[in-house]
Symmetry: C2
Subunit: 113 residues, 2 copies
DNA sequence: CAGCATCCGGCCGGATACTG
DNA sequence: CAGTATCCGGCCGGATGCTG
């Protein structure tokens, strides 16, 4: 039996692809709180990252259709990012990740002793 | 304010790290069905991948504590992989991913037209 | 303020070959 | 059957500098 590329077919393979970026989950988490501007977003990221990197990640997520980018025609420029419709639905994944992530952290702590 | 590495603190950052591997989600999905042997696992993976690659991914997941590796002392060798306790709890994430992944796939289909 | 162009280095996954 | 050793190429993220 021929093996196939299941991207766009299997939900797990597809999700994996979307979540590959080093920051995608955290960006989605921040956007889930509401629309946010570029610089504010960068400030809230957990680790230092250049705007180049953040910009690239956002562009990828936008191309994947997870987020919306709204540009206001003004000086200085203002751009707001927000979750798209399908991005909003991603919140159930975020919820699950939050629960599991906390359990995992606890689990690791108790093993280190 | 100093930015910090929130691995082991923030559930999202921690989860992201764990899910970076190109195959991690699908492996977890297959293991969630029950214990499975190495070769059988490889056969069920969606795309062709060498055993070297699979072996490395499994080792990583094992080091992270998500899966158990049980080696049976026999010839020919037999090794079974299964979810650890914290790995079992990961199922809620898998469920969320399955739901969202399918919605995402549908969403993309309708946009391509 | 937001973004792009470009360069660079490291890491990760794939391929091949060998071991018990 | 399962795994390791080694090499290699590509991709992705980080750094820097320029644009409107």
């Amino acid at each position: 039996m021929e093996k196939k590329n299941l991207f766009g077919v299997c939900p797990y393979v597809t999700s994996q692809k979307v979540l590959t970026g080093k920051w995608s989950i955290y960006i989605m988490y921040l956007l889930a709180k509401g629309p946010i501007r570029f610089n504010e977003l960068q400030r809230q990221m957990p680790e230092e990252m250049t705007h180049t990197t953040l910009s690239r990640q956002l562009k990828t997520l936008e191309e994947e259709g997870l987020i919306n980018r709204i540009e206001y025609a003004q000086i200085p420029p203002k751009v707001e990012y927000s979750l798209s419709e399908i991005g909003e639905k991603f919140k159930i994944v975020l919820d699950a990740l939050e629960i599991w992530g906390n359990e995992y952290i606890e689990c690791m702590k108790s093993k280190k002793k």
